[in-house]
């Protein structure tokens, strides 16, 4: 069973195409890392999942339901932590707890208290009196204490210190490990995504560039160094390779694929593979972001 099913969703803001024919399925129990440049459409996609935006075309289903038609049924099963500070500053943390408990039948007060202790949150403190990191922790507490079936984190760690980021990552792992929940985790911090995600999706200019298992993704991108028999004054041509760097006879390129055909292709181009290694997620991200047409 899929937690979310997005089919052919497009969304436009005036002349700007924010999302373009996005298709995405997220099976239950999966941790999906959502990456993309600033303004690529990550938050817009998340808002469509939450039902806060209505697609111009296509359908969004969360738990098999339309989040716009049934907001109460969908939102009551989602724990959400926004990028920006969305909590009302005048509320105290204990008020936030009681207030949230009214909405969510699955609210676990013991767990909420435990999280407050772990996060070192003063339950009598007003949210506006907390630091940015503490507010993020409070929001995380409110999102986790409902024991959500679907945890949705929209760049929760941007601008936060490593300790808070560690708490958030721990929450993601805990949510999956303990509850079998589904997580969608949007972040610029790709090392974090690498640590916790099963799958990675990338959005660029509103289009879904890829959505693959993390391991498969990393094993589909190689950085290779080739030595050519002849001097090359311009970028060489090799099937599956792009982003050439170098000069003369030694060139480095990104190679898309598992590398099985690399030796044969190199031989055909009268080159020898000097070095090869798998790309990190960050390098894959940069490669896909740097050139619109490549790969």
């Amino acid at each position: 069973m899929n937690t979310i099913e997005i089919q052919d969703v497009s969304r436009r803001f005036g002349p700007k195409q924010a999302l373009k024919n996005v298709n995405l399925e997220l099976p239950k129990g999966t941790v999906l890392g959502l990456i993309g440049e600033n303004g690529a459409g990550k938050t817009t996609l998340i808002k469509h999942i939450l039902g806060l935006l209505k697609p111009d075309q296509g359908t969004v289903r969360v738990f098999g339901l339309d989040p716009i038609q049934s907001p109460e049924k969908v939102l009551s099963r989602i724990g959400y932590l926004a990028e920006e500070d969305a909590l009302p500053g005048w509320m105290r943390i204990d008020e936030l707890q009681r207030y949230s408990a009214g909405f969510y039948p699955t609210w676990n007060q013991e767990y909420a208290d435990q999280l407050c202790r772990n996060f070192n949150l003063d339950r009598k403190a007003k949210l506006k009196s907390l630091s940015k990191g503490q507010r993020a922790r409070a929001g995380l507490m409110a999102a986790l204490a409902i024991k959500p079936e679907f945890l949705l984190l929209d760049e929760p760690s941007s601008g936060l210190d490593p300790i808070v980021r560690r708490d958030i990552l721990g929450a993601v792992i805990g949510s999956v490990a303990d509850e079998g929940g589904t997580v969608l985790f949007s972040s610029h911090l790709l090392t974090e995504i690498e640590r916790v995600a099963d799958r990675v999706a990338m959005i660029r200019d509103g289009e879904l560039v890829f959505c693959e298992d993390l391991d498969a993704l990393k094993h589909a991108h190689l950085k290779v160094t080739l030595r050519f028999d002849n001097y090359k004054s311009s970028s060489p041509v090799l099937a599956g390779a792009s982003h050439w760097e170098g000069e003369g006879t030694e060139w480095t390129a990104l190679y898309t694929g598992d590398g099985g055909n690399l030796e044969a292709a190199s031989a055909l181009a009268k080159a020898t593979v000097v070095d090869r290694r798998w790309l990190s997620l960050e390098e894959i991200f940069v490669a896909h972001s740097a050139t619109r047409s490549a790969i």
Partner: protein
């Protein structure tokens, strides 16, 4: 030194030039129609002149708001509300305080003097209010820029200090103080305010102040957070918690605004809306109302997506796992509850007023008895309209939306931005009324209050149109939406205008159209609230619904 002065002066001119332009436009319109021969316009002269006056007044609203330099100031905070970008300028504190003050006092005074001179006021009515405006503006600036040791202190000081200052003028005049004495009083107040502002900014720049923490006994009292059995109950709590205490204060102050003039005004009172029988009540009421508005405007939760030029309901509100109808119902329950509490608190005021003794044709009786004896259809209709207006004003969401959209600048200026302009304008109205107070004109004033409010609403609608016009450039507003809005206004007006015509045959020519327009908003918005919330909570590719501030305030 010279460069910093010229830089700061340029900044002040740059941020206020639009508002000054609006005031000048109002002046020009007033001048044109005030000096033109009556026959030229066949009776429309007064209306157009008033229109000029309204334009001038609205310009003053925005101007004083800007001059308070409170764009990002939180009046509830203890710290100095002086703009941070100016506070960090390499200029002496005295320059940062006195230059904006002098600039503001000069501009406001000159504009008023020009306006009053056009209307041919007496010399006292020209320069005394000018000094009064200066004192009020300086007071507002001083409160904004000062520092206190506790949060919320400045709100209380703003309300009471400004009220005292504004009330002092007619009170002192009634007590027989000469205009010259009143002028000295205003100058003294201005000097005092300047000193307070200087001390506040000096402390603010040096950081030599501290906010006190709540005492421990109060923290112990916080141990009992409410618990809720359902989401609806929790949402009701949130709505009530956010505004409840404010409505109590507002209601109590409204009560004072009714009771005080009723208790102190001993002369015979003409019939009409009680608020208009006394200059004191005349400006106390909107002053209190403005304070009431000011404490929550700026907290309304519309979120702007700068990247996509889009706006939506606040995320926290939108994420509540409740249906759109349930969220709106919670807001309506809150509005009804708070309005009821406000009215209940206010109740002693009218009772005291009605029990006050008046002399009608040599016969002494209570106002209630006199009203009963002299009840006319005109008065009854006025009463009904007044109740409707009062309900409209009490219902905070509509009021906030009206003011929020009336001026985009006001929206940015927070609490003091609302308090300041309304105080100044109502203060001016009160003074004018004092100098030219004629009881026989009160029924006419009653007639005018509705078209003036109607004009404000029309201005709001025009402002909305311009907002829509701006959004059109981004392709967010389809033609059909504008047509739909226009149709709603036309249909509602077509229904309401005949009703107003039947209800008030004597006033047809004067204010029925404005009354009809005025009634459109509350009437249409109540049933539209769910649709509006739905549109803004689940934003499709459609125009920004202007009611976003209403449903989400």
């Amino acid at each position: 030194m010279t460069r910093s002065i010229s830089g700061l002066a340029w900044y002040l001119w740059r941020v206020t030039r639009l508002e000054i332009g609006m005031c000048v436009l109002g002046l020009v319109v007033s001048l044109l129609f005030h000096t033109a021969p009556n026959a030229t316009f066949n009776g429309y002269l007064v209306t157009l002149e008033v229109l000029g006056g309204v334009t001038f007044g609205l310009g003053m609203f925005a101007l004083v708001s800007k001059l308070s330099l409170a764009e990002r100031a939180d009046l509830a905070a203890a710290g100095c509300g002086y703009p941070r970008q100016l506070m960090l300028l390499p200029a002496p504190t005295s320059q940062l305080v006195f230059l904006p003050m002098v600039y503001g006092l000069t501009v406001i005074s000159l504009l008023w003097i020009a306006f009053a001179a056009i209307l041919g006021q007496t010399p006292e009515a020209i320069w005394v209010p000018a000094l009064g405006f200066s004192a009020l503006l300086a007071t507002i600036q001083a409160i904004t820029w000062s520092t206190t040791s506790r949060p919320f202190v400045k709100i209380a000081v703003a309300i009471f200090w400004v009220v005292i200052l504004a009330a002092s003028a007619p009170t002192l005049l009634l007590e027989g103080i000469s205009p010259a004495g009143l002028g000295v009083f205003f100058i003294g107040s201005t000097v005092l305010a300047a000193g307070v502002a200087f001390a506040g900014l000096a402390k603010g720049r040096s950081g030599s102040y501290s906010e006190l923490a709540w005492p421990t006994w109060r923290r112990r009292n916080l141990d009992h957070a409410a618990s809720f059995t359902s989401g609806k109950a929790a949402q009701d709590w949130l709505e009530n918690r956010r505004n409840g205490s404010f409505h109590l204060i507002a209601g109590a102050m409204m009560s004072v605004s009714y009771a005080f003039p009723a208790l102190t005004y001993s002369q015979a009172l003409p019939f009409g809306w009680p608020l208009l029988v006394s200059p004191l009540a005349c400006y106390l009421y909107p002053l209190v109302l403005s304070a009431w508005l000011g404490t929550f405007v700026g907290c309304s939760g519309s979120e702007r997506d700068v990247l996509n030029q889009d706006r939506s309901v606040a995320t926290f509100f939108a994420m509540r796992p409740l249906s759109d109808a349930a969220l709106v119902a919670s807001k309506l329950r809150m509005a009804l509850r708070s309005a009821t509490i406000g009215w209940l608190i206010m109740l002693p005021g009218p009772i005291l007023f009605l029990c006050s003794q008046v002399s009608i044709d040599g016969t002494e009786c209570s106002i209630a008895v006199a009203l009963w004896r002299h009840m006319t259809l005109q008065f009854f209709t006025g009463l009904v309209l007044s109740v409707l207006i009062l309900f409209f004003l009490t219902w905070r969401m509509n009021v906030s939306a009206m003011w929020l959209r009336l001026s985009r600048h006001l929206m940015l200026h927070g609490a003091i931005g609302i308090i300041a302009p309304i105080s100044v304008v109502t203060f001016g109205i009160a003074l004018i009324q004092h100098y030219s107070y004629r009881p026989d004109l009160v029924p006419e004033l009653l007639v005018w209050i509705t078209p003036v409010l109607g004009l404000l609403v029309m201005a709001k609608i025009l402002a909305t149109y311009f907002v829509v016009g701006r959004l059109r450039k981004f392709g967010l507003v389809p033609e059909a939406t504008i047509q739909r809005w226009g149709t709603v206004c036309l249909v509602t007006g077509a229904v309401l205008l005949p009703l107003a015509r039947i209800a008030s045959p004597e006033w047809i020519t004067t204010f029925q159209a404005a009354a009809g327009v005025f009634l459109i908003l509350p009437t249409v918005r109540i049933p539209m609230a769910v649709l509006t919330l739905h549109a803004n909570r689940h934003r499709g590719t459609m125009p920004l619904a202007v009611e976003v501030g209403v449903v989400n305030a």
